[in-house]
Amino acid sequence: MAIFYILLFFMVIAAIIAVETKDLLGSVICVGAIGFGGSLMFLLLYAPDIAITQIVVEVLGLIILIRATISRDHTFITGEREFFGMVVSVAILLVIFLAGIKVFESLPPFGTPIFAKAPEAPSQTYIEKGLADTGAANVVAGVILDYRGYDTLGETTVLFTSILGATVILRTRSRKRLEEPDT
C-alpha cells in the first residue's frame, strides 16, 4: 500500500509543476509523467487491460499536444493577472474540495469493493457466469462486447464523430482561390 501513496504523490507533484510553469513544453512533459504514473497505478490495482490502453494512449496524446506547441513562437502570456478573480476562484475550489472529502466517508474503505457489500450487484454475476455465458476468458472483454455492447457502440460513434470533426477543421485545400474579404 505504500507504493500507492508514493505514486500518487509523484502524480500530484507533477500536476503542480505542469500547472505552474510558464514553459509550455515543460508542462506537456509533466502531463506525460502523470499519465505514466497513472499507468503504473493501474497495473498495481490489478487492471492490466487499462494499463496497456493508458500507456499507449498517453504516448499518442503527448504527440498531439507537442504538435500544438513545438513551432509556435508567441506562446508566452504577458499581462497583468486579475488578482481578485483568482482569489475568489481558489476559495470556491477549496470549499468544493473540503465538501467532497466528507462524501468519501460514505464509501467503503479502500480495499473492499462495493459489490462485496451488496451481493445482488451485477459484478458478481459477471464474474461467476462470465465464462459460461459468453465464452470469453477475459471477463472485461466479455463485459464490454457481450453484456454491455450498447456502450461500445456509442463509444465507437463518439470516436468517429470527434475524429471527423478534427480532420474537417484542419482542412485547407478546398478553399476558394479568389480573394473575398471577410465581412
Binding site: V56, T134, T172, E179
Partner: protein, 163 residues
C-alpha cells in the same frame, strides 16, 4: 514532418514490424489475454506514427494513402454495425452473441471461442487504428497555403511555423 538521421531510419525500419505484429496479437487474442480492440488499434496507429516521425510524411503517404485509410476506418465501423444487426437476424435480439449460443461454441480458452467477440475486436481495432492515424496525419499536414485577408493595419501576422 521531415525525416531523421540514417541511424534512426534503420532502427525504425526494423522496429515498426515488431510493433505492428504486437498490435495484431493484442487484437486477435483480446478475449483471452488483456488488451482487446481499443489498445490494439492504438498500437497499430502508433506504428505508423513512428514511421511518420522517422521517415517524413510523404513516405508514409505513399505507403498508406489517405483515401485507403479513410475507407478502412469506415469499413471497420460498418463491420461492427453488421455484427450487431446479424445478431438481430440470426439470434432474435439486437447484438446477441449468436455465434456462441447457436452455431459455433468452440472450446473455452482456445482461439476459436466466445462467438462474435473476436470479430468485434477486429472491427474495433481497424476502426480505432485508422481513425487515429488520420487524425495525426491531418495534424502534421496542416499548412497555411491560403492568403488571409489583411483586416486592419495593426493586425500582426503570426510567424507560426509549418513544415
Amino acid at each position: 514532418m521531415k525525416g531523421m538521421t540514417i541511424i534512426v531510419k534503420t532502427i525504425c525500419g526494423w522496429v515498426k514490424v515488431l510493433i505492428f505484429l504486437f498490435g495484431i496479437n493484442i487484437i486477435l487474442f483480446g478475449h483471452l489475454t488483456p488488451g482487446g480492440g481499443f489498445a490494439g488499434g492504438v498500437i497499430l496507429a502508433s506504428s505508423y506514427v513512428l514511421m511518420m516521425l522517422a521517415f517524413g510524411r510523404e513516405f508514409v503517404e505513399k505507403n498508406l494513402p489517405i483515401p485507403l485509410a479513410s475507407r478502412l476506418d469506415c469499413f471497420g465501423a460498418f463491420l461492427f454495425a453488421a455484427v450487431a444487426i446479424l445478431g438481430l437476424v440470426f439470434g432474435g435480439t439486437f447484438f446477441v452473441n449468436f455465434l456462441y449460443q447457436k452455431y459455433l461454441p468452440g472450446h473455452a480458452l482456445h482461439l476459436v471461442s466466445a462467438g462474435t467477440i473476436p470479430l468485434s475486436n477486429i472491427a474495433i481495432g481497424l476502426k480505432v487504428g485508422a481513425s487515429l492515424f488520420l487524425a495525426i496525419f491531418a495534424l502534421s499536414a496542416f499548412r497555411k497555403d491560403f492568403q488571409r485577408p489583411d483586416a486592419g493595419g495593426d493586425n500582426k501576422r503570426p510567424v507560426a511555423g509549418q513544415e
